[in-house]
């Protein structure tokens, strides 16, 4: 029997799930190997049965998102947090570190606020079997993952930072140019695709193992880059993951949580 597969999305840009049909050379083979039950981006008839494997994209930032996630979790053997938003909260979760005054004016005045939640990665609410990080996830990694998992094997994520892959590719080090490059901080597996294109790593794949964030702040400070700029950048893709390593971020987050709680009590 072919494994039953689903692709679901919470709030996001649909870029991660589009990365699947954008595997033009492999997509027909992949579809031939699985029973694609649900993928509402490209299918009209979607069956919510038990799943062997589900790719889940997006950040949980309103109640509907959470409802879908919980339902899918119940029925799924292997749930994959797919892409930055699902793995780390991605860019939307930056909001968890900034003052509400920055985005309050964007709230919908006529709609009930209750539906809106603080953006969280999906493993904040449910257990997941695998993370495939990245904004977007690396396409070769998606294929490698599928090959392993469809064969019933375990998938092991790449265990070295982006910097390691970047060196192998013999790129010029962007730190030398005074760029805020997070290659040293970030989990690899993307083949250092951004530095390959001359662009600094923003950390979209989340922190690597054993990061030393303090050392990184010192490094940028020595180059004359204000700490606030560096910290803003850290929050962009991996704030929710880095707060355990970065005391200031942890405090910022606690501050925001406290404000939310006070507001809830006032209600």
């Amino acid at each position: 029997m072919k494994p039953k597969v689903g692709v679901f999305g919470a709030s996001g840009c649909a870029g991660c799930m589009l990365s699947i049909p954008f595997l033009e050379d492999e997509i027909l083979d992949i579809i031939g190997q699985v029973n694609l039950l649900s993928f509402s981006l490209i299918k009209g008839r979607n069956i919510n049965d038990e799943f062997d494997l589900v790719f889940f994209e997006g950040v949980i930032c309103h109640n509907d998102d959470l409802e879908v996630l919980r339902k899918v979790r119940e029925k799924t053997k292997i749930l994959v947090a797919f892409g930055s938003c699902a793995c780390t909260g991605g860019i939307p979760a930056t909001r968890n570190f900034v003052d509400e005054s920055k985005f309050n004016h964007l709230r919908h005045k006529k709609m009930d606020f209750i539906a809106d939640r603080e953006p969280m990665p999906i493993d904040h609410y449910v257990d997941v079997e695998y993370h495939l990080p990245g904004c977007p996830p690396s396409q070769p990694e998606i294929v490698r993952f599928l090959k392993q998992v469809l064969l019933g094997k375990d998938f092991r994520p790449f265990d070295k930072p982006v910097c390691y892959e970047c060196k192998l590719n013999r790129n010029r080090c962007l730190l030398e140019d005074g760029k805020i490059c997070f290659g040293t901080l970030t989990q690899g597996g993307c083949d250092a695709i951004c530095p390959n294109g001359g662009y600094e790593c923003w950390g979209c794949r989340g922190p690597a193992q054993d990061v030393n964030i303090e050392e990184v702040y010192t490094l940028f400070k020595d180059k004359g880059i204000p700490e606030e700029q560096v910290r803003n950048r850290v929050t962009t893709f991996m704030g929710m993951r880095m707060k355990e390593h970065d005391k200031t971020l942890k405090l910022l987050r606690q501050d925001q949580t406290k404000k939310q709680e006070t507001k809830q009590e006032a209600k």
């Binding site: 709030s11 649909a14 490209i42 930032c61 939307p92 909001r95 920055k102 985005f103 919908h108 939640r117």
Partner: protein, 426 residues
């Protein structure tokens, strides 16, 4: 008695949306298109960030239009900073926009729209019987993706574009390869257009105000003035025409001109700029039973197929003009408060980015208006009129027809979900 039809989670569109329809007798009393995406507050998250970070962050609004958001943000910043990008930079960005248009139109036409017309639930279900069509679709998607990958460095959320230039210049060999690949795809693009000329579109007419960019000698993508039948204005003047607007049933934007809806996208571009299409595209239309301007919103699919042929021609022309050489990125200089606006023709229509920054180079204001949020009101208008025309159909068929109309617009609800409301006042 009111007969209420609710379509929850409409499939084969980008993002999440649903529709509530109230029908009394043969009249539509309610028509509400709900975007049910969570709010991501991009325009708020940009505040206080470095000006030159805007394009990286705002490209995440949408996967399929990521190049468009990226370029619109960069152009707005460059206009604010008074940076004039080089001819080579402009041409490379054109390849990105064309590549994005090719992959987006091919994806939409074959995977989202065509199954409706052929009576399948998805393109996957079509693969056995329509092998050649699916192969053509994947070939065109691959061409578009390769264009973005070679020039932009990555298929999704490209990385090479930056304020003042390109971080990496593709090699001449890559460009030759791309030219060959584009030439190889002409039969597929032409077959696509012929296929869409051959489909049966519902007999439905509902004239809209069609807005898009226009230039005198170019099928405008990145610059020009905004035109419709009765309006012409410069990009910088859009605030004179647009004011904020909110609905209580949806989390996305609605843009309305003098409380009248308007349409952006392929059909608007082909209707307004038909004469500026390439000769091949124009000739294929002339040999078909169709003429433009067309007031049938279902013909947006036709317009996309026409633009597909046009985009391939245009890609060859751009590659011909390119004589690639290394160029330095022009560095921004922040001295005072600055303000920039840019409109870009992305696959689904005119996309607006506007930013202000202070003398430290920090963003103090960001406003982004996406094509789908401009089209929502017009979609509702067309749904109302179309439902009244086909109201006698059995319910299941009626629902499918409505979905078909929504999909013809190629809406993207990922993009349209943000809270700055827009209203036309003139």
């Amino acid at each position: 008695m009111t007969n209420t039809i609710k379509l929850n989670h409409i499939c084969k569109i980008e993002g999440h949306a649903s529709l509530t329809l109230g029908i009394e007798g043969k009249k539509v009393t309610t028509c509400q298109l709900h975007a049910i995406e969570g709010s991501r507050y991009f325009e708020g998250l940009l505040l206080g960030r470095q000006f030159v970070e805007a394009h990286e962050i705002s490209s995440r609004i949408c996967g399929i239009c990521s190049c468009g958001h990226n370029i619109a943000a960069i152009q707005a910043q460059e206009r604010a900073l008074g940076i004039q990008p080089t001819e080579q930079t402009k041409l490379l960005r054109e390849i990105l926009t064309l590549g994005e248009r090719i992959r987006s139109h091919a994806t939409h036409l074959y995977f989202l729209a065509l199954p409706d017309y052929l009576g399948y639930e998805s393109a996957i279900a079509m693969t056995a019987k329509f092998k050649n069509e699916v192969a053509a679709a994947l070939k065109l998607v691959k061409l578009g993706n390769d264009m973005v990958r070679i020039v932009g460095g990555r298929v999704m959320h490209q990385i090479s574009c930056t304020v003042g230039g390109m971080l990496k210049i593709p090699s001449k060999a890559d460009m030759l390869e791309l030219r060959k690949q584009t030439m190889d795809c002409f039969p597929d693009a032409e077959a696509t257009l012929k296929l869409f000329f051959g489909l049966q579109y519902p007999d439905f007419k509902n004239e809209s105000e069609y807005f898009c960019l226009q230039e005198d000698n170019n099928y405008a993508m990145h610059s020009g003035r905004i035109v419709s039948k009765s309006h012409t204005f410069e990009q910088e003047k859009y605030h004179d025409f647009i004011k904020e607007y909110q609905e209580d049933y949806a989390t996305s934007n609605f843009a309305v001109k003098a409380d009248k809806p308007y349409m952006v996208g392929s059909l608007a571009r082909v209707n307004n700029n038909f004469n500026l299409l390439t000769e091949r595209a124009k000739k294929m239309v002339a040999d078909s039973p169709y003429t433009f301007p067309s007031f049938n919103p279902f013909h947006n699919n036709l317009a996309q197929a026409i633009e597909l042929v046009d985009a391939l021609d245009r890609t060859i022309n751009v590659i011909k003009k390119l004589d690639l050489k290394e160029e330095k990125v022009i560095q921004p200089d922040f001295k005072q408060e600055m303000h920039g606006i840019s409109a870009v023709e992305v696959p689904r229509g005119t996309l607006w980015h506007e930013y202000k920054c202070n003398e430290k180079g920090e963003i103090t204001f960001a406003n982004i208006v996406t094509p789908t949020c401009q089209n929502l009101r017009n979609m509702e208008k067309d749904i109302r009129a179309y439902v009244e025309q086909v109201v006698d159909l059995p319910r299941e068929k009626l629902v499918l027809e409505v979905e078909k109309l929504i999909r013809a617009y190629d809406p993207c609800f990922s993009c349209s979900t943000h809270f700055l409301k827009v209203k036309w006042v003139k």
